[in-house]
């Protein structure tokens, strides 16, 4: 193709797209010429009586043609094989995107606001948004939970109920099942509120890299605030961490991020979950 450039430039200073198209179509022939013109240079030193005649006819001897075709086919097959290998590798990388993914999440067993057991297995088959907070939270938790609920509502309209909002209490001393039940009822109708005893919550928070400061000996009647991480987590249908949203993310940011991820998932698996 390089040898083609000067000629092309000579024909037209600014090649239109049609010229480009034509030259592309002619490429094999030109490539053949480029290949064969270098062939005689190598075959010339060989003592050959009919060399002159051959040069007159051109270099299209059956042998050269066969060699050219064989090389072409070989290269074609080789590149196709390499390309296939690359696609497979990419596919595999997508399938288990473990590398470079933060190690957030893990096994846990908590109780829902309806008294049912909820474990990390219940995250499977659905996208989830998980927020850690407490019901006596003055302003940030309700704001974040409202944001999460709004995002889920928008996504529900587009995809149906495939994004599960979850609230995990980091205040085991005061947040009873009934307290959390009342609390979550003010937010998205599908919001799951989870509670557990101090050690269970501590374990869960450790798995999710969440910091919280409830004193272990706090009494249910104490009036205190819990200092805690205020991110909410976005997990995929395999229960794997995808992203975290902070106070700066808007509802639109969250929706866009989730939509993007569902899109990627869909092209890869053909399903939305």
């Amino acid at each position: 193709m390089l040898a083609l450039a000067p000629r092309l430039a000579a024909r037209s200073a600014a090649p239109s797209s049609s010229t480009l198209l034509r030259t592309t179509c002619r490429a094999p022939r030109n490539a053949a010429r480029a290949f064969s013109s270098s062939a005689p240079a190598r075959s010339q030193p060989l003592p050959d009586a009919s060399g002159r005649d051959k040069a007159a006819v051109g270099v299209f001897t059956p042998k050269a043609a066969a060699l050219f075709v064989a090389t072409g086919v070989g290269l074609f097959l080789y590149f196709r094989y390499e390309k296939q290998k690359l696609i497979e590798q990419k596919q595999k990388e997508l399938e288990d995107k473990q590398v470079g993914r933060p190690n957030v999440g893990g096994p846990f067993s908590l109780t829902t606001q309806d008294g049912k057991t909820f474990t990390e297995k219940d995250l499977l088959g659905k996208w989830s948004l998980i927020y850690f907070g407490f019901t006596n939270c003055p302003d940030i938790c309700p704001e974040e939970l409202d944001k999460m609920s709004d995002a889920v509502e928008t996504l529900d309209k587009q995809f149906g109920p495939i994004v599960q909002p979850i609230f995990i209490s980091v205040d085991p001393a005061r947040d009873s099942v009934s307290q959390v039940k009342r609390y979550v009822s003010d937010f998205h109708p599908r919001l799951v509120g989870l509670v557990g005893d101090y050690n269970t919550v501590k374990q869960t928070c450790k798995a999710y890299r969440v910091y919280f400061s409830t004193p272990p000996d706090a009494k249910p009647t104490d009036d205190y605030l819990v200092d805690h991480s205020i991110f909410f987590y976005f997990m995929d249908p395999n229960g794997q961490f995808v992203d975290a949203f902070g106070k700066a993310s808007t509802v639109e940011d969250v929706v866009a991020r989730v939509q993007k991820e569902i899109g990627v998932w869909q092209t890869r698996t053909g399903k939305t979950t």
Binding site: N136, P142, V180, D223
Partner: protein, 94 residues
């Protein structure tokens, strides 16, 4: 909220309406502080007693502590930001 409840009943953090009530009372009290040119809640003397009483009734003590601290911090932060901006503008001019 019963007929007699509003006096004795502590604000319920798990209820959206109670939270809203606390925030509204807080905003009213803080607005009063702004008018009185007071930053730190408690420094206003008797100027905002009416709104302060409602604030203390509608919000839990821990929330009041938190909001009051936040107000002071927010003002300080604003001061630092303004200062930074001024310095930035001065640096641009020179």
């Amino acid at each position: 909220m019963g007929w007699f409840g509003s006096q004795e009943k502590a604000p319920d953090a798990a209820s959206r309406s109670d939270r809203q009530k606390c925030w509204d009372s807080r905003d009213a009290y803080f607005a009063c502080l702004d008018t009185a040119n007071v930053i730190k809640p408690g420094d206003e003397g008797k100027a905002c007693d009416a709104s302060k009483g409602k604030y203390e009734k509608d919000c839990a003590r821990s929330w009041i502590e938190y909001f009051n601290k936040r107000r002071v911090l927010a003002v300080q932060q604003q001061g630092v930001l303004t200062q930074a901006n001024n310095q930035l503008n001065a640096a641009k001019k020179s």
